[in-house]
Protein backbone atom coordinates (compact mmCIF):
# COMPACT_ATOMS: atom_id res chain seq x y z
CA UNK A 1 0.00 0.00 0.00
CA UNK A 2 1.15 3.53 0.59
CA UNK A 3 4.85 4.20 0.75
CA UNK A 4 4.39 7.69 2.07
CA UNK A 5 2.01 6.66 4.75
CA UNK A 6 4.92 6.13 7.02
CA UNK A 7 6.51 9.37 5.85
CA UNK A 8 5.37 12.35 7.82
CA UNK A 9 6.35 15.60 9.46
CA UNK A 10 9.56 15.78 11.44
CA UNK A 11 8.24 18.37 13.89
CA UNK A 12 5.17 20.40 14.68
CA UNK A 13 6.93 23.70 14.01
CA UNK A 14 8.06 22.27 10.66
CA UNK A 15 4.47 21.43 9.76
CA UNK A 16 3.22 24.90 10.71
CA UNK A 17 6.00 26.64 8.78
CA UNK A 18 5.33 24.41 5.76
CA UNK A 19 1.60 25.09 6.01
CA UNK A 20 2.24 28.84 6.40
CA UNK A 21 4.72 28.63 3.52
CA UNK A 22 2.04 26.96 1.43
CA UNK A 23 -0.24 29.92 2.11
CA UNK A 24 2.34 32.70 1.84
CA UNK A 25 2.97 33.37 -1.82
CA UNK A 26 3.92 36.17 -4.16
CA UNK A 27 0.41 37.56 -3.75
CA UNK A 28 1.03 38.43 -0.09
CA UNK A 29 3.56 41.07 -1.14
CA UNK A 30 2.29 42.05 -4.59
CA UNK A 31 -1.44 41.39 -4.82
CA UNK A 32 -2.64 42.38 -1.34
CA UNK A 33 -1.39 46.01 -1.36
CA UNK A 34 -2.61 46.45 -4.94
CA UNK A 35 -6.05 45.10 -4.02
CA UNK A 36 -6.19 47.33 -0.92
CA UNK A 37 -5.46 50.46 -2.96
CA UNK A 38 -8.05 49.48 -5.56
CA UNK A 39 -10.75 48.76 -2.98
CA UNK A 40 -10.88 51.52 -0.41
CA UNK A 41 -7.41 51.64 1.14
CA UNK A 42 -7.48 50.99 4.88
CA UNK A 43 -11.22 50.30 4.75
CA UNK A 44 -10.51 47.20 2.62
CA UNK A 45 -9.16 45.53 5.74
CA UNK A 46 -12.69 45.40 7.23
CA UNK A 47 -14.30 43.15 4.57
CA UNK A 48 -10.96 41.37 4.29
CA UNK A 49 -10.83 40.42 7.98
CA UNK A 50 -14.56 39.62 8.06
CA UNK A 51 -13.99 37.22 5.14
CA UNK A 52 -11.01 35.77 6.99
CA UNK A 53 -13.13 35.06 10.07
CA UNK A 54 -16.28 33.88 8.29
CA UNK A 55 -14.74 32.01 5.38
CA UNK A 56 -10.97 31.72 5.72
CA UNK A 57 -10.63 30.28 9.21
CA UNK A 58 -13.68 27.98 8.90
CA UNK A 59 -12.33 26.58 5.63
CA UNK A 60 -8.93 26.10 7.24
CA UNK A 61 -10.55 24.04 10.01
CA UNK A 62 -12.52 22.07 7.44
CA UNK A 63 -9.55 21.37 5.16
CA UNK A 64 -7.20 20.43 8.01
CA UNK A 65 -9.76 18.05 9.53
CA UNK A 66 -10.70 16.51 6.16
CA UNK A 67 -7.02 15.89 5.50
CA UNK A 68 -6.37 14.28 8.88
CA UNK A 69 -9.53 12.18 8.44
CA UNK A 70 -8.29 10.95 5.05
CA UNK A 71 -4.95 10.06 6.59
CA UNK A 72 -6.73 7.46 8.74
CA UNK A 73 -7.50 5.61 5.49
CA UNK A 74 -3.94 6.08 4.21
CA UNK A 75 -5.23 8.58 1.66
CA UNK A 76 -3.39 11.84 1.03
CA UNK A 77 -5.30 13.38 -1.87
CA UNK A 78 -8.82 14.70 -2.08
CA UNK A 79 -10.50 12.23 -4.47
CA UNK A 80 -10.38 9.42 -1.94
CA UNK A 81 -10.60 11.69 1.11
CA UNK A 82 -13.93 12.85 -0.34
CA UNK A 83 -14.78 9.25 -1.12
CA UNK A 84 -14.20 8.24 2.49
CA UNK A 85 -16.32 11.12 3.78
CA UNK A 86 -19.13 11.11 1.27
CA UNK A 87 -19.49 7.37 0.55
CA UNK A 88 -21.57 8.05 -2.58
CA UNK A 89 -19.46 7.14 -5.64
CA UNK A 90 -19.58 10.58 -7.29
CA UNK A 91 -17.82 12.50 -4.48
CA UNK A 92 -14.40 11.29 -5.54
CA UNK A 93 -14.86 13.03 -8.90
CA UNK A 94 -15.40 16.35 -7.12
CA UNK A 95 -12.18 15.56 -5.29
CA UNK A 96 -10.43 15.53 -8.67
CA UNK A 97 -10.27 19.32 -8.34
CA UNK A 98 -7.79 18.83 -5.51
CA UNK A 99 -5.29 17.30 -7.93
CA UNK A 100 -6.24 19.19 -11.08
CA UNK A 101 -5.86 22.62 -9.49
CA UNK A 102 -2.45 21.84 -8.03
CA UNK A 103 -1.06 20.62 -11.34
CA UNK A 104 -2.57 23.43 -13.39
CA UNK A 105 -1.57 26.19 -10.96
CA UNK A 106 1.94 24.79 -10.55
CA UNK A 107 2.30 24.85 -14.35
CA UNK A 108 2.18 28.65 -14.48
CA UNK A 109 3.18 29.45 -10.90
CA UNK A 110 6.63 27.85 -11.25
CA UNK A 111 7.25 30.16 -14.19
CA UNK A 112 6.32 33.19 -12.08
CA UNK A 113 8.53 31.84 -9.32
CA UNK A 114 11.42 31.60 -11.78
CA UNK A 115 11.09 35.33 -12.45
CA UNK A 116 11.91 35.96 -8.79
CA UNK A 117 14.90 33.62 -9.03
CA UNK A 118 16.24 35.33 -12.14
CA UNK A 119 15.64 38.84 -10.73
CA UNK A 120 17.56 37.84 -7.59
CA UNK A 121 20.42 36.79 -9.87
CA UNK A 122 20.23 40.03 -11.88
CA UNK A 123 20.26 42.05 -8.64
CA UNK A 124 23.47 40.38 -7.48
CA UNK A 125 25.02 40.59 -10.95
CA UNK A 126 24.33 44.35 -11.03
CA UNK A 127 22.31 44.08 -14.25
CA UNK A 128 20.04 46.98 -13.28
CA UNK A 129 22.86 49.33 -12.22
CA UNK A 130 22.89 52.42 -14.36
CA UNK A 131 19.61 51.59 -16.08
CA UNK A 132 16.86 54.22 -16.28
CA UNK A 133 13.31 53.39 -15.22
CA UNK A 134 12.27 53.04 -18.85
CA UNK A 135 15.18 50.68 -19.52
CA UNK A 136 14.27 48.45 -16.56
CA UNK A 137 10.67 48.31 -17.80
CA UNK A 138 11.88 47.48 -21.31
CA UNK A 139 14.15 44.77 -19.84
CA UNK A 140 11.14 43.26 -18.02
CA UNK A 141 9.00 43.46 -21.16
CA UNK A 142 11.74 41.84 -23.25
CA UNK A 143 12.06 39.09 -20.63
CA UNK A 144 8.39 38.15 -20.57
CA UNK A 145 8.22 38.31 -24.38
CA UNK A 146 11.08 35.75 -24.47
CA UNK A 147 13.49 38.14 -26.15
CA UNK A 148 16.26 36.20 -24.39
CA UNK A 149 16.78 32.56 -23.43
CA UNK A 150 17.00 33.43 -19.71
CA UNK A 151 13.28 32.95 -18.89
CA UNK A 152 13.42 29.38 -20.16
CA UNK A 153 16.73 28.63 -18.41
CA UNK A 154 15.54 29.96 -15.05
CA UNK A 155 12.19 28.22 -15.46
CA UNK A 156 13.92 24.87 -16.03
CA UNK A 157 16.20 25.49 -13.01
CA UNK A 158 13.15 26.29 -10.93
CA UNK A 159 11.31 23.14 -12.05
CA UNK A 160 14.36 21.00 -11.28
CA UNK A 161 14.69 22.55 -7.82
CA UNK A 162 11.03 21.92 -7.04
CA UNK A 163 11.18 18.37 -8.29
CA UNK A 164 14.39 17.51 -6.48
CA UNK A 165 13.13 18.94 -3.17
CA UNK A 166 9.84 17.05 -3.54
CA UNK A 167 11.72 13.84 -4.27
CA UNK A 168 13.36 14.19 -0.85
CA UNK A 169 9.99 13.74 0.81
CA UNK A 170 8.08 15.75 3.40
CA UNK A 171 10.45 15.92 6.34
CA UNK A 172 13.62 15.59 4.23
CA UNK A 173 12.65 18.15 1.58
CA UNK A 174 9.54 20.28 2.02
CA UNK A 175 9.90 20.76 5.77
CA UNK A 176 13.60 21.65 5.56
CA UNK A 177 12.91 24.30 2.91
CA UNK A 178 10.08 25.74 5.02
CA UNK A 179 12.26 25.86 8.12
CA UNK A 180 14.92 27.84 6.25
CA UNK A 181 12.70 29.78 3.86
CA UNK A 182 10.00 31.09 6.20
CA UNK A 183 12.27 32.65 8.86
CA UNK A 184 14.41 34.21 6.12
CA UNK A 185 11.30 35.50 4.36
CA UNK A 186 10.09 37.18 7.56
CA UNK A 187 13.56 38.59 8.31
CA UNK A 188 13.98 39.97 4.77
CA UNK A 189 10.44 41.37 4.89
CA UNK A 190 11.11 43.16 8.18
CA UNK A 191 14.41 44.67 6.97
CA UNK A 192 12.86 45.87 3.69
CA UNK A 193 9.73 47.08 5.48
CA UNK A 194 11.69 49.16 7.97
CA UNK A 195 13.80 50.52 5.11
CA UNK A 196 10.63 51.43 3.23
CA UNK A 197 8.97 53.15 6.17
CA UNK A 198 12.07 55.14 7.12
CA UNK A 199 12.62 56.37 3.57
CA UNK A 200 13.33 60.11 3.61
CA UNK A 201 12.57 62.52 0.78
CA UNK A 202 15.71 64.22 -0.52
CA UNK A 203 16.57 66.53 -3.48
CA UNK A 204 18.34 63.81 -5.49
CA UNK A 205 16.45 60.74 -4.22
CA UNK A 206 12.92 59.99 -3.04
CA UNK A 207 10.25 62.61 -3.67
CA UNK A 208 8.16 61.45 -0.68
CA UNK A 209 8.84 59.99 2.74
CA UNK A 210 8.01 56.30 3.11
CA UNK A 211 5.10 57.09 5.42
CA UNK A 212 3.34 58.96 2.58
CA UNK A 213 2.86 55.60 0.83
CA UNK A 214 1.80 53.94 4.06
CA UNK A 215 -0.71 56.74 4.65
CA UNK A 216 -2.06 56.36 1.12
CA UNK A 217 -2.42 52.59 1.50
CA UNK A 218 -4.10 52.71 4.90
CA UNK A 219 -6.22 55.87 4.65
CA UNK A 220 -9.72 54.39 4.84
CA UNK A 221 -12.47 55.24 2.41
CA UNK A 222 -15.37 53.80 4.41
CA UNK A 223 -17.91 54.42 1.65
CA UNK A 224 -16.42 51.44 -0.23
CA UNK A 225 -17.31 48.83 2.37
CA UNK A 226 -20.93 48.79 1.11
CA UNK A 227 -19.75 47.88 -2.38
CA UNK A 228 -20.40 44.26 -3.49
CA UNK A 229 -17.31 44.45 -5.71
CA UNK A 230 -15.11 45.22 -2.70
CA UNK A 231 -16.49 42.23 -0.77
CA UNK A 232 -15.91 39.91 -3.72
CA UNK A 233 -12.35 41.27 -4.00
CA UNK A 234 -11.79 40.69 -0.26
CA UNK A 235 -13.16 37.15 -0.43
CA UNK A 236 -11.01 36.45 -3.50
CA UNK A 237 -7.91 37.72 -1.73
CA UNK A 238 -8.63 35.46 1.27
CA UNK A 239 -8.92 32.49 -1.08
CA UNK A 240 -5.64 33.22 -2.83
CA UNK A 241 -3.71 34.09 0.27
CA UNK A 242 -4.68 31.03 2.34
CA UNK A 243 -4.35 28.55 -0.57
CA UNK A 244 -7.91 27.43 0.11
CA UNK A 245 -9.79 25.18 -2.27
CA UNK A 246 -6.65 23.60 -3.69
CA UNK A 247 -6.26 20.30 -1.88
CA UNK A 248 -2.74 21.02 -0.68
CA UNK A 249 -3.83 21.73 2.92
CA UNK A 250 -5.69 18.39 2.97
CA UNK A 251 -2.56 16.64 1.80
CA UNK A 252 -0.24 18.20 4.39
CA UNK A 253 -2.76 17.51 7.19
CA UNK A 254 -3.25 13.91 6.07
CA UNK A 255 0.23 13.08 7.37
CA UNK A 256 -0.86 13.89 10.94
CA UNK A 257 -1.96 11.07 13.14
CA UNK A 258 -5.58 10.98 14.24
CA UNK A 259 -4.91 12.29 17.75
CA UNK A 260 -2.74 15.24 16.80
CA UNK A 261 -4.08 18.76 17.09
CA UNK A 262 -5.38 20.56 14.06
CA UNK A 263 -7.24 23.49 15.67
CA UNK A 264 -4.19 25.30 17.05
CA UNK A 265 -2.04 24.33 14.07
CA UNK A 266 -4.59 25.77 11.65
CA UNK A 267 -4.91 28.98 13.69
CA UNK A 268 -1.15 29.39 13.95
CA UNK A 269 -0.43 28.80 10.26
CA UNK A 270 -3.41 30.93 9.16
CA UNK A 271 -2.49 33.91 11.33
CA UNK A 272 1.17 33.64 10.34
CA UNK A 273 0.06 34.12 6.76
CA UNK A 274 -2.01 37.14 7.81
CA UNK A 275 1.00 38.67 9.56
CA UNK A 276 3.11 38.31 6.43
CA UNK A 277 0.36 39.72 4.23
CA UNK A 278 -1.18 42.50 6.29
CA UNK A 279 1.91 43.71 8.15
CA UNK A 280 4.91 42.91 5.95
CA UNK A 281 2.96 43.06 2.68
CA UNK A 282 1.87 46.63 3.30
CA UNK A 283 5.32 47.86 4.39
CA UNK A 284 7.30 47.34 1.20
CA UNK A 285 6.15 47.95 -2.37
CA UNK A 286 3.74 50.83 -1.82
CA UNK A 287 5.83 52.95 0.61
CA UNK A 288 8.98 52.50 -1.51
CA UNK A 289 7.38 53.03 -4.92
CA UNK A 290 5.29 56.03 -3.81
CA UNK A 291 8.43 57.40 -2.16
CA UNK A 292 10.19 57.55 -5.53
CA UNK A 293 7.41 57.79 -8.09
CA UNK A 294 4.54 59.57 -6.33
CA UNK A 295 0.95 58.57 -5.67
CA UNK A 296 -0.46 59.12 -9.16
CA UNK A 297 2.08 56.95 -10.97
CA UNK A 298 1.75 54.11 -8.47
CA UNK A 299 -2.06 54.22 -8.55
CA UNK A 300 -1.90 53.75 -12.33
CA UNK A 301 0.54 50.86 -11.98
CA UNK A 302 -1.57 48.90 -9.50
CA UNK A 303 -4.80 49.28 -11.51
CA UNK A 304 -5.77 45.70 -12.31
CA UNK A 305 -4.80 44.70 -8.80
CA UNK A 306 -1.74 42.50 -9.37
CA UNK A 307 1.27 44.60 -8.30
CA UNK A 308 3.52 42.51 -10.57
CA UNK A 309 4.65 45.56 -12.55
CA UNK A 310 5.88 47.40 -9.45
CA UNK A 311 7.53 44.30 -8.03
CA UNK A 312 9.51 43.39 -11.12
CA UNK A 313 9.72 46.49 -13.31
CA UNK A 314 9.96 49.34 -10.80
CA UNK A 315 11.61 48.20 -7.57
CA UNK A 316 14.82 46.91 -9.27
CA UNK A 317 15.55 50.43 -10.51
CA UNK A 318 14.84 51.96 -7.08
CA UNK A 319 17.08 49.40 -5.38
CA UNK A 320 19.81 50.05 -7.94
CA UNK A 321 19.80 53.71 -6.83
CA UNK A 322 20.55 52.65 -3.23
CA UNK A 323 24.16 51.79 -4.02
CA UNK A 324 25.76 48.81 -2.23
CA UNK A 325 22.71 48.29 0.01
CA UNK A 326 20.60 48.19 -3.14
CA UNK A 327 22.27 44.93 -4.19
CA UNK A 328 21.43 43.41 -0.80
CA UNK A 329 17.92 44.89 -0.91
CA UNK A 330 17.34 43.44 -4.39
CA UNK A 331 18.59 40.05 -3.29
CA UNK A 332 16.37 40.18 -0.19
CA UNK A 333 13.27 41.31 -2.12
CA UNK A 334 13.52 38.74 -4.89
CA UNK A 335 14.83 36.11 -2.48
CA UNK A 336 11.77 36.75 -0.34
CA UNK A 337 9.48 36.41 -3.37
CA UNK A 338 11.27 33.23 -4.39
CA UNK A 339 10.91 31.66 -0.92
CA UNK A 340 7.25 32.70 -0.90
CA UNK A 341 6.82 31.05 -4.28
CA UNK A 342 8.71 27.83 -3.77
CA UNK A 343 7.09 27.00 -0.42
CA UNK A 344 3.74 27.26 -2.24
CA UNK A 345 4.70 25.31 -5.36
CA UNK A 346 6.14 22.48 -3.26
CA UNK A 347 2.75 22.17 -1.58
CA UNK A 348 1.18 21.75 -5.01
CA UNK A 349 3.30 18.71 -5.74
CA UNK A 350 2.53 16.69 -2.64
CA UNK A 351 -1.15 15.82 -3.39
CA UNK A 352 -0.14 14.46 -6.79
CA UNK A 353 2.65 12.38 -5.26
CA UNK A 354 0.30 11.21 -2.51
CA UNK A 355 -2.34 10.18 -5.06
CA UNK A 356 0.16 8.19 -7.13
CA UNK A 357 1.66 6.55 -4.05
CA UNK A 358 -1.61 5.71 -2.29
CA UNK A 359 -3.36 4.28 -5.32
CA UNK A 360 -0.71 3.07 -7.73
CA UNK A 361 2.22 2.31 -5.40
CA UNK A 362 4.48 4.82 -7.15
CA UNK A 363 7.18 5.84 -4.69
CA UNK A 364 7.44 9.50 -3.74
CA UNK A 365 10.76 10.13 -5.52
CA UNK A 366 9.37 8.78 -8.79
CA UNK A 367 6.07 10.59 -8.15
CA UNK A 368 7.98 13.88 -7.78
CA UNK A 369 9.63 13.45 -11.20
CA UNK A 370 6.29 12.53 -12.78
CA UNK A 371 4.82 15.72 -11.29
CA UNK A 372 7.82 17.71 -12.55
CA UNK A 373 7.38 16.24 -16.04
CA UNK A 374 3.67 17.08 -16.16
CA UNK A 375 4.12 20.68 -15.06
CA UNK A 376 6.98 21.06 -17.53
CA UNK A 377 4.71 19.98 -20.41
CA UNK A 378 1.75 22.05 -19.23
CA UNK A 379 4.00 25.00 -18.45
CA UNK A 380 5.26 25.29 -22.05
CA UNK A 381 2.20 27.19 -23.35
CA UNK A 382 2.24 29.38 -20.21
CA UNK A 383 5.84 30.34 -20.90
CA UNK A 384 5.17 30.86 -24.60
CA UNK A 385 2.09 33.04 -24.28
CA UNK A 386 0.47 35.34 -21.71
CA UNK A 387 -2.91 34.24 -23.10
CA UNK A 388 -2.29 30.65 -22.01
CA UNK A 389 -0.91 31.90 -18.68
CA UNK A 390 -4.08 33.93 -18.09
CA UNK A 391 -6.35 31.01 -19.03
CA UNK A 392 -4.60 28.74 -16.54
CA UNK A 393 -4.70 31.46 -13.90
CA UNK A 394 -8.40 32.18 -14.38
CA UNK A 395 -9.88 28.67 -14.73
CA UNK A 396 -7.56 26.75 -12.40
CA UNK A 397 -6.25 29.50 -10.13
CA UNK A 398 -9.56 31.29 -9.58
CA UNK A 399 -12.75 29.48 -10.56
CA UNK A 400 -11.69 25.93 -9.62
CA UNK A 401 -10.81 27.13 -6.10
CA UNK A 402 -14.27 28.54 -5.46
CA UNK A 403 -16.06 25.49 -6.89
CA UNK A 404 -13.90 23.10 -4.88
CA UNK A 405 -14.32 25.06 -1.63
CA UNK A 406 -18.10 25.21 -2.08
CA UNK A 407 -18.25 21.46 -2.68
CA UNK A 408 -15.99 20.57 0.23
CA UNK A 409 -17.88 22.65 2.78
CA UNK A 410 -21.21 21.13 1.67
CA UNK A 411 -19.66 17.67 1.92
CA UNK A 412 -18.18 18.36 5.33
CA UNK A 413 -21.08 20.16 6.98
CA UNK A 414 -24.09 18.56 5.31
CA UNK A 415 -23.11 15.14 3.99
CA UNK A 416 -20.44 13.96 6.39
CA UNK A 417 -22.51 15.80 9.00
CA UNK A 418 -21.73 18.65 11.33
CA UNK A 419 -21.80 16.45 14.45
CA UNK A 420 -19.03 14.24 13.11
CA UNK A 421 -17.31 17.21 11.51
CA UNK A 422 -17.23 19.21 14.73
CA UNK A 423 -15.89 16.16 16.57
CA UNK A 424 -13.13 15.87 13.96
CA UNK A 425 -12.14 19.51 14.36
CA UNK A 426 -11.98 19.17 18.14
CA UNK A 427 -10.30 15.75 18.32
CA UNK A 428 -6.91 16.23 19.98
CA UNK A 429 -7.35 20.01 19.90
CA UNK A 430 -4.89 22.05 21.94
CA UNK A 431 -7.24 24.99 22.02
CA UNK A 432 -10.96 25.24 22.52
CA UNK A 433 -12.50 26.18 19.19
CA UNK A 434 -15.31 28.69 19.85
CA UNK A 435 -18.70 27.04 19.27
CA UNK A 436 -19.74 29.87 17.02
CA UNK A 437 -17.51 28.31 14.36
CA UNK A 438 -19.81 25.30 14.23
CA UNK A 439 -22.66 27.58 13.19
CA UNK A 440 -20.40 29.51 10.81
CA UNK A 441 -19.14 26.35 9.08
CA UNK A 442 -22.63 24.94 8.71
CA UNK A 443 -24.51 28.03 7.61
CA UNK A 444 -22.48 31.19 7.11
CA UNK A 445 -19.48 29.93 5.11
CA UNK A 446 -21.59 28.01 2.55
CA UNK A 447 -23.77 31.07 1.99
CA UNK A 448 -20.65 33.22 1.70
CA UNK A 449 -19.21 30.84 -0.89
CA UNK A 450 -22.46 30.70 -2.85
CA UNK A 451 -22.49 34.50 -2.98
CA UNK A 452 -18.84 34.55 -4.11
CA UNK A 453 -19.65 31.95 -6.77
CA UNK A 454 -22.69 33.89 -7.99
CA UNK A 455 -20.54 37.01 -8.07
CA UNK A 456 -18.09 35.14 -10.31
CA UNK A 457 -20.71 33.92 -12.81
CA UNK A 458 -20.67 37.01 -15.10
CA UNK A 459 -16.88 36.66 -15.33
CA UNK A 460 -17.18 32.94 -16.06
CA UNK A 461 -19.64 33.58 -18.90
CA UNK A 462 -17.52 36.38 -20.28
CA UNK A 463 -14.31 34.36 -20.16
CA UNK A 464 -15.88 31.18 -21.51
CA UNK A 465 -17.37 32.94 -24.53
CA UNK A 466 -14.56 35.30 -25.41
CA UNK A 467 -12.25 34.43 -28.27
CA UNK A 468 -8.55 34.00 -27.60
CA UNK A 469 -5.31 33.23 -29.40
CA UNK A 470 -4.06 29.80 -30.48
CA UNK A 471 -2.22 29.41 -27.16
CA UNK A 472 -5.30 30.48 -25.23
CA UNK A 473 -7.37 27.78 -26.94
CA UNK A 474 -4.58 25.29 -26.38
CA UNK A 475 -4.62 26.13 -22.66
CA UNK A 476 -8.39 25.57 -22.48
CA UNK A 477 -8.05 22.24 -24.24
CA UNK A 478 -5.17 21.16 -21.99
CA UNK A 479 -7.10 22.07 -18.85
CA UNK A 480 -10.13 20.06 -19.97
CA UNK A 481 -7.94 17.13 -21.02
CA UNK A 482 -6.08 17.23 -17.70
CA UNK A 483 -9.32 17.16 -15.71
CA UNK A 484 -10.67 14.27 -17.81
CA UNK A 485 -7.42 12.34 -17.50
CA UNK A 486 -7.38 12.66 -13.71
CA UNK A 487 -11.01 11.46 -13.63
CA UNK A 488 -9.92 8.36 -15.56
CA UNK A 489 -7.08 7.72 -13.12
CA UNK A 490 -9.44 8.16 -10.19
CA UNK A 491 -11.85 5.68 -11.77
CA UNK A 492 -9.05 3.13 -12.25
CA UNK A 493 -7.83 3.73 -8.69
CA UNK A 494 -11.34 3.27 -7.32
CA UNK A 495 -11.53 -0.14 -8.99
CA UNK A 496 -8.17 -1.10 -7.48
CA UNK A 497 -9.19 0.20 -4.04
CA UNK A 498 -12.41 -1.78 -4.20
CA UNK A 499 -10.50 -4.93 -4.95
CA UNK A 500 -8.22 -4.32 -1.96
CA UNK A 501 -11.19 -3.32 0.25
CA UNK A 502 -9.60 -0.11 1.39
CA UNK A 503 -12.62 1.25 3.26
Amino acid sequence: MSNTASAGWGSRVGLILAMAGNAVGLGNFLRFPAQAIENGGGAFIIPYLVCFLLMGLPLLFVEWSMGRFGGKFKQHSTPFIFDAMGKAPYWKYFGVFGIFTNIAVAAFYCYLESWALSWAYYSVAGTFTGMSQTEVQAFFQNYIELGTSHPVIFWIICLLMNTWILSRGLSGGVEKVAKIGMPLLILFGLILGITGLTLQASPDGAINDGVVGLNYLWNPDFSTIWSFKVWVAAAGQIFFTLSLGMGSIHCYASYLNSKEDIALNAMSAGWMNEFVEVVLGSMIIIPISIGYLGIEAVTDMVSGGSGLGIGFAVLPKLFADWGAFGVVAGLMWFGLLFFAGITSSLAMGTPVMGFLDDNFGIRQSRGAWIFGGIIFLLGIPCVMSPDAFNEFDYWAGTIALVVFALVEIVLFAWVFGMDKGWAEINAGADIKVPKIFRFIIQFVSPVFLIVVFIGAIPGIIENATKDTSFYGWMARFLLLALFALICVFVYIASKRNKSTKLY
Binding site: R12, V13, I16, G41, G42, I45, L49, V211, L214, N215, L217, W218, N219, P220, N257, S258, K259, E260, D261, L264, N265, M267, S268, W271, M272, E274, F275, V278, V279, G428, D430, I431
Partner: protein, 47 residues
Amino acid sequence: METPALIMVIVVWSSVTLITGYFFWKVLSLPKHPEPDSFPDNDEIEK
Protein backbone atom coordinates in the same frame (compact mmCIF):
# COMPACT_ATOMS: atom_id res chain seq x y z
CA MET B 1 0.25 60.48 8.60
CA GLU B 2 -3.42 61.31 8.76
CA THR B 3 -5.16 60.21 11.96
CA PRO B 4 -7.61 57.64 10.41
CA ALA B 5 -4.75 55.93 8.54
CA LEU B 6 -2.57 55.96 11.65
CA ILE B 7 -5.37 54.43 13.75
CA MET B 8 -5.97 51.73 11.14
CA VAL B 9 -2.27 50.86 10.96
CA ILE B 10 -1.78 50.72 14.72
CA VAL B 11 -4.96 48.73 15.43
CA VAL B 12 -4.57 46.24 12.57
CA TRP B 13 -0.83 45.69 12.77
CA SER B 14 -0.78 45.32 16.55
CA SER B 15 -3.82 42.98 16.58
CA VAL B 16 -2.51 40.75 13.80
CA THR B 17 1.01 40.65 15.27
CA LEU B 18 -0.23 39.85 18.78
CA ILE B 19 -2.63 37.12 17.64
CA THR B 20 0.03 35.56 15.41
CA GLY B 21 2.60 35.70 18.20
CA TYR B 22 0.14 34.28 20.73
CA PHE B 23 -0.75 31.21 18.66
CA PHE B 24 2.84 30.52 17.65
CA TRP B 25 4.01 30.89 21.26
CA LYS B 26 1.26 28.47 22.29
CA VAL B 27 2.51 25.93 19.74
CA LEU B 28 6.07 26.27 21.01
CA SER B 29 5.17 26.13 24.70
CA LEU B 30 2.81 23.13 24.69
CA PRO B 31 4.28 19.77 25.70
CA LYS B 32 4.69 17.20 22.92
CA HIS B 33 1.81 14.76 22.52
CA PRO B 34 2.59 11.14 23.39
CA GLU B 35 2.81 8.70 20.48
CA PRO B 36 -0.66 7.35 19.68
CA ASP B 37 0.37 3.74 20.06
CA SER B 38 2.26 4.17 23.33
CA PHE B 39 0.93 3.00 26.63
CA PRO B 40 1.67 4.57 30.00
CA ASP B 41 2.59 1.09 31.30
CA ASN B 42 5.47 0.98 28.84
CA ASP B 43 6.95 4.28 30.00
CA GLU B 44 10.13 4.14 32.03
CA ILE B 45 9.55 5.07 35.65
CA GLU B 46 11.82 7.81 36.92
CA LYS B 47 13.55 6.80 40.09
